[in-house]
């Protein structure tokens, strides 16, 4: 039960000049499930390891429950971590793996036994307690790693891509189990993943990182509906948002034959810095397929992904002499064929407008 605060926390690896994590400011509430997400090399794992005490904090501070832990060793921070490859002790049984931390803390034997048995029951590991990790499947090992963290009853759980070594089906299953478990235990959790689906489905809030900089932190819904910049807009959502940089007119953005109407404030903001262009984005599901007479943008279909309930249509359209690729989500019936031309039109009011230079969202 604790809050976690990153206060301008910075990590610069020796031999490099660019910080791996640059002045990260982040408040994580008591009992919150926060997901750090971003492409590989964005600093999400480094941020987590700084909190764990496995990386130095070069400047700034990290606080757990208001206590500055920036320069404390890992064992003084009262945290438990689940590693990507589980990092179970290969020479110990499942029971000993879970009991190890408690033994080090000189917890009485009966109490250790109670806690381990309880965690094992919670994770359906009772029959494997006497096995070595070698004799377990990937999913079971993952659960042992979870169990080892749970028995500690720490102030904060840290999870570093704990699902990435599982197969697709097990990953989806375990995803919901972890979320349920976290809700039940109510322990503050920081979870790192590169998978935006995991981030969106598990986190109370999601922090998006790129190149060591925090881009946006918000609820999954808010991230999806109001991305703060072009990167977040493109990163969150699958298939990705269609983002096109087009000419800025007095009324809005000129998307080929279509005019995307913008408010006067948006036009003014987009024009700052003597900018004559603007980036507009539409989610694939926010695009309607219309008939030729309704004045849509002609799109030559390249690929149709039929997902059953709906379908993703990929194609290209000519915008001011440049072939631009689009993806449109339509219902699963009456799908167009490859090579066919369809007409598309963004739903009014479902645009995302960004400054073409800075990439910042304009409202």
């Amino acid at each position: 039960m604790a809050t976690v605060t990153y206060d301008k926390a910075t990590r610069i690896y020796s031999g490099t000049t660019r910080p791996a994590v640059n002045a990260l400011d982040l408040e994580i509430g008591d009992g919150e499930f926060l997901v750090l997400v971003g492409p590989s090399g964005c600093g999400k794992s480094t941020s987590l390891r700084m909190l764990a005490g496995l990386e130095d904090v070069d400047s700034g501070r990290i606080l757990i429950d208001g206590r500055d832990v920036s320069h404390l060793p890992p064992k003084a921070r009262d945290i438990a971590m689940v590693f990507q490859n589980y990092a179970l002790y290969p020479h110990m049984t499942v029971y000993d793996n879970m009991a190890f931390a408690l033994k080090l803390r000189k917890v009485p034997k009966s109490e250790i036994d109670r806690r381990v048995k309880e965690a094992a029951a919670m994770l359906q590991l009772e029959e494997y307690l006497n096995r070595k990790p070698k004799a377990l499947s990937g999913g079971q090992r993952q659960r042992v790693a979870m169990g080892r963290a749970i028995v500690r009853e720490p102030q904060v759980f840290l999870m570093d891509e704990p699902l990435s070594n599982l197969d697709a089906k097990l990953r989806v299953q375990t995803r919901s189990q972890i979320a349920t478990l976290q809700a039940r235990l109510g322990i503050t959790t920081v979870y790192v993943t590169h998978d935006q689906v995991e981030a969106m489905t598990m986190g109370h809030r999601v922090a998006v990182l790129l190149d060591g900089e925090l881009q946006q932190v918000d609820t999954p819904r808010a991230l999806y509906d109001r991305p703060a910049n072009v990167f977040v807009a493109g990163f969150i959502g699958s298939p990705a948002m269609n983002i096109k940089t087009v000419a800025l007119t007095d009324d809005g953005a000129q998307l080929g034959s279509l005019l995307v109407k913008l408010t006067r404030e948006q036009v003014a903001a987009a024009g700052t810095g003597d900018n004559r262009q603007v980036s507009v984005g539409f989610r694939p599901e926010d695009i309607d397929v219309v008939s030729a007479s309704e004045g849509g943008l002609p799109l030559v279909v390249e690929l149709v992904e039929d997902l059953g309930s709906d379908a993703n249509v990929y194609g290209h359209a000519n915008i001011n002499g440049v072939e631009e690729r689009f993806v449109v989500r339509t219902t699963g019936r009456n799908l167009p064929h490859m090579g066919e031309t369809i007409y598309i039109r963004p739903k009014p009011g479902h645009y995302h407008v960004f400054h073409a230079g800075t990439g910042k969202r304009l409202d």
Partner: protein, 312 residues
């Protein structure tokens, strides 16, 4: 139930058995000159290595007369008293005990210090880390003959150390133990640091998060994980130290303190006028047995240790 169902699924798939047939014919059935050469070479190698061993063991049961008149024949009866004679009259028993004390002590010290040094050099970064490491590696290139004379004086001078002096000077177990340890450390550190480096970092981090101190991390987590490496290098050191001859000749001249290899040499030298060949071979067998036994026990772990680096 399950056997029936597997049979049922196996029968309608003829290509699979045919494939295994062709694989077999190309592998074992067909004449393969290279395979024959390999097999023949291994057989020859095996005979070359085991024959002298077996011959020495066989000879240790013969009488002196039999050894000189019919060296290739089996012993007419098992003369166990050869061993008794070697053990008591030729003092092999005494030398055996000396060897056990010296090698036991130096092996424990080598493994403990070697593992600790290798672990720190492999997994902790600090200024001078590489210098210390290369100093150890450099020690491997140092021929022992070059050091013999200075070493003699160094160990002799150790006698003037207050209190401890008599235990670590010439003709003391402690002195020889220290020299053996120093002599074995370079390769031990070299080998084990490569081994410790190959162990996953995440497990060490997990242990630190679980609340381990660095000492506990080493002894309770990393050492057990490095077991195959420790066993193979331990055995390597045991063989080397058990068969060590030159260092004890220089540093243990006292007859009471001789180790086994010295004792056997003395026995061989005295053959000139006493002629007890049977006792010599019995002593040789006694000296070989611990090595063979240790090797048989740890055979599988040695293989694991030698191949572990290749698999990671």
């Amino acid at each position: 139930m399950t056997t029936i169902s597997t049979e049922a699924t196996a029968t309608p798939a003829p290509p699979a058995p045919r494939e295994t047939n062709t694989a077999e014919s190309s592998g074992l059935g067909r004449f393969n000159p290279l395979r024959l050469l390999n097999g023949g070479f291994l057989l020859l190698w095996g005979v070359l290595t085991t024959f002298p061993l077996l011959w020495a063991m066989m000879t240790s049961f013969k009488t002196n007369n039999e050894i000189l008149t019919s060296p290739w024949e089996l012993p007419s009866s098992l003369n166990w008293d050869n061993f008794a004679r070697a053990w008591t009259q030729a003092n092999i028993g005494r030398y055996f005990l000396n060897s056990v004390i010296v090698v036991g002590g130096s092996l424990i010290l080598t493994m403990l210090l070697g593992a600790m040094a290798a672990y720190v050099l492999a997994r902790y970064e600090f200024p001078g880390n590489r210098i210390v490491y290369y100093a150890f590696v450099g020690g491997m290139t140092f021929p022992v003959f070059l050091a013999l004379v200075p070493l003699f004086f160094v160990v002799d001078n150790l006698g003037s150390v207050p209190v401890l002096g008599p235990f670590i000077t010439l003709n003391s177990y402690g002195g020889l133990i220290l020299v053996y340890t120093a002599y074995s450390l370079p390769f031990t550190v070299f080998f084990l640091s490569a081994f410790f480096r190959s162990l996953p970092t995440a497990i060490a981090e997990a242990a630190l998060l679980d609340g381990c101190s660095h000492f506990r991390l080493f002894f309770q987590v990393m050492m057990p994980m490095a077991r195959p490496g420790l066993v193979s290098i331990g055995l390597f050191n045991f063989l080397g130290q058990w068969n060590q001859y030159l260092l004890p000749v220089v540093l243990m001249p006292d007859e009471d303190k001789r180790v086994l290899s010295q004792g056997l040499a003395a026995l061989a030298v005295s053959q000139g006028y006493r002629g007890d060949w049977a006792a010599l071979f019995a002593g040789l067998t006694i000296a070989m047995l611990p090595v063979l036994i240790v090797y048989l026990i740890f055979q599988r772990q040695i293989q694991a240790g030698l191949t572990a680096g290749a698999l990671k």
